[in-house]
Symmetry: C2
Subunit: 200 residues, 2 copies
Amino acid sequence: MSPAAETEAPWARRPKRADGRRNYDAILEAARVAFANRGTGASLEDIAKAAGVAIGTLYGHFPTRETLVEASVREQLDQLDQAATTLTEEDGDALGALTAWVRLAVEHCSTYRGLASFLAGSAHTAGAPLHHTGVIVHKAVAPLLAKAKEAGRIRTDVTAEELYAVITAAAWTRENSPEQVDHSVRLLAFVTEGMAPQAG
Amino acid sequence: MSPAAETEAPWARRPKRADGRRNYDAILEAARVAFANRGTGASLEDIAKAAGVAIGTLYGHFPTRETLVEASVREQLDQLDQAATTLTEEDGDALGALTAWVRLAVEHCSTYRGLASFLAGSAHTAGAPLHHTGVIVHKAVAPLLAKAKEAGRIRTDVTAEELYAVITAAAWTRENSPEQVDHSVRLLAFVTEGMAPQAG
DNA sequence: CCTCGAATGGAGGTAACCTCCCCCCTCGAG
DNA sequence: CTCGAGGGGGGAGGTTACCTCCATTCGAGG
């Protein structure tokens, strides 16, 4: 986090000129609304229209759909990261802390319909805007996972990678569940049990 | 399965005229290739072209993408159904039979990239071509599930519905896993453990 | 051979993606 | 305050894919 050597992402940097920033923010806000209503596949031209901006402007700020999706969830991601830190520092139930965080992560990964697919798709593609997201999640879980292992509450062979796969799968299930019956809850419950040591 | 009272699907019935059947088959074959290469989102116009047929002809036989997807996996589905019957009749490890079938189902549900999403999407939409698929899967697991419960090898509160959610989630994970590292295997392992009685 | 209607072809309307490039407006230097 | 540079904006238009529609063709049964 050295402020000088900041390796900032080359895509979707908030512009320096005032009008640029105004449009950037308007697009982002419109995108959040559109993604919430129609999923990550929402029409970019509609988003531009809703933001009161031409399509070229949108592409100027966000060269691909993925960069726009990434930007629209970045804040939530930071919260998730902080939550992990908080939960790690708390004393007490190490397994509870881990599962609580996982539930939180699932919720965030299913903010928009289609988000889970984006995340899974770029998880193994270095350089993708949302790959960055996956990396942060990995770093965030690591301490929680380690603590749960030390406490003997979880198998020692469970990796952060696997946990990420579980999280995205649960998020996807949540997106695809019918109203009022979130199957991801049960899925997570089963997986949690299955990750306990000597379960077999 | 009464041959007279056959409630056949109104979509994508194999046509009676010879030229119609020829085209129907050609389209289906081209679709299988295209879906295998590009996923269920493959261009329908390309499929028509590959089948040596005009786009209107394709739509004549398969009014929606979903009907085409359904038709292209129907045979596999029947095999899956039969496998369930066979495994149910076998004596021996009831849990093993169930998990073996589940693994088979996951494989079939991830035949094409995007298939899992189609299945999950229409799972709760009565009337959808692929809803039919979900129903058959439900019927197929029921006996296997019952047997495993009787043998005390699985929690009695696990429903076929939940199992279907697990299967599609695992299939989706498989589709999204990087080459050579199929995370769905581990996911299934965890879930299986978690479904055991008195695991907690 | 003839008739009926199933099956076909493919033009064309619609929607969304994305690029390109001219023009304008902001901002900082003078 | 003025002015010049260039970052930023606009939006037309090429491209691809979806899906519909209907005049025409052709197969099957009589």
